[in-house]
Amino acid sequence: MTLLAVERIKLFSTRSPWWCMLLALGLTVGITAIIAANWTDSPMPVLGAVFTHTFGLYVVMVMAALAVTTEYRFGTIKSTFQAVPDRISPMVAKAVVVVLLSGLVGLASAFGSWGLSWVLAEDNSDLALTTANDWRHVAGVGLVYAAGALLALGVGALVRQTAGAVSIILVFALVVESVVGFIPNIGDDIQKWMPFTVASKFIFGDPDPSAIPNGAGPPAIGELSPWGSFGYFAGIALVIYIVSLVVVKRRDA
């Protein structure tokens, strides 16, 4: 518990996490509000309300990466390891705090977007959260943000530099995953196993493909079930994170 408090103090005693959280909420809720206000021809589906969650995901991952890389940038990692020399426990405590916080931001973002859509959409008859799938579409955003944060923490601890870690994350998520789709023959097969593509299937995936509005989002059904998709994404995050712990433990601080 002590170390959780330590990481909480660290995170909230600088301004950048606050800005990141505000930005994540502003981007997702704000853009959803615009979409909802302009959704006129048909009843707005639940998926329409969480369509923007990826913007927030990138911001939250940047925040998580910063939580580690700024420690290296400003040398406080040495003070941290001086204070707790086993190294693993402060890194785990940091992960718990950052992952929980990211999950909460995800929930706030998803339910905020959904609530605002309910208020703004002309026809909100389809927005009601009636099925387990509806709940997954919205609450699942919290889980994806949490797992994404864990992945970013791992990358941050491995790379140690803010610019490097942030570019790796963004370039991979925004460029690499779409570009691999263009590789002839095997592109599609590779793409459907890419972590962020799979993660989006957890949010958007629906056993009933007709639930996806025209042109919105990737094909609904991937290789895995929605929960299997989340397990895949979270598994990759966990592996990268554990590798980073092993490296941090062995490497000179």
């Binding site: 002590t2 170390l3 408090a5 330590v6 990481e7 103090i9 660290k10 005693s13 600088t14 301004r15 950048s16 700024t70 420690e71 400003f74 040398g75 406080t76 040495k78 003070s79 941290t80 390891f81 001086q82 204070a83 707790v84 020399p85 086993d86 402060p90 062995r250 000179d252 601080a253």
Partner: protein, 302 residues
Amino acid sequence: MIEATGLTKHYGKTVAVDDLSFRVEPGRVTGFLGPNGAGKSTTMRMILGLDNPSGGRVTVKGRDYRSLREPLRVVGALLDAKWVHPNRSARAHLLWLARSNRIPAARVDEVLDMVGLTQVAKRRAGGFSLGMSQRLGIAGALLGDPEVLLFDEPVNGLDPEGILWIRQFMHRLAAEGRTVFVSSHLLSEMAQTAQDLIVIGRGKLIAQTSTEQFIADATEDTVRVRSPHLDRLRELLDGRARVAEAATPDGALVVHGVQPAFIGELAASNGITLHELSPQLGSLEEAFMQLTKESVEYHAAD
């Protein structure tokens, strides 16, 4: 107490620290000296468990740093005053450090007061001058009221009052029975601060001894003499000692190779009046230059 045994650190093919063994005793201020690149920082980082030794070990009070449960209560260190998040307040910085070792928050205010930062405790550390950052670093080192203290260039950026303050402070910490280990390049300052010295060059131990002994071993003591009958004194000393003119304009002589008492007796038995008879000790700088000549990495052309 800090004890290094066969401590070695390689970075690839470079040997930064080479089979280094030494002991830092409690109750004294021990200076840690060496030219640039001698391996001082690496050694300090290994003491704190930040770098892993390639061979040998170093213990604090008989234990590996990494096996200490609440290490800030045993060892306090100031290695680099800039190791602070610039957007975090001084107080928040100390608060998370304190919390990590279950040190009460009240102690944070105590150490802030000790180093004179109470008034600026809420300001972001990034806006601090080097001197204020240095004080913050010292506050961090004192948090756990530790028995062993490590300082790397503690007077860096401090003004004369700050320099005097930290010197007296280190003396008092040692007088309380703590182990104080200070690395510095400022030999004129270290001569006044450190009672013991550990000197390294190219990662190897050059000397471990008291400051006094270190200077005495490496420099020659001389005697400065002024007298209204200097010529006669000079004749008497001829053949018994080496005599040179002092660089000062007061016409003093510098006598090598004899004790001041010998000159005093000689003068008295010949009725020569003395106006000055001062033993001149070598400086720490001279001694250091003498002993580290071969291990300096980098020579400037004259």
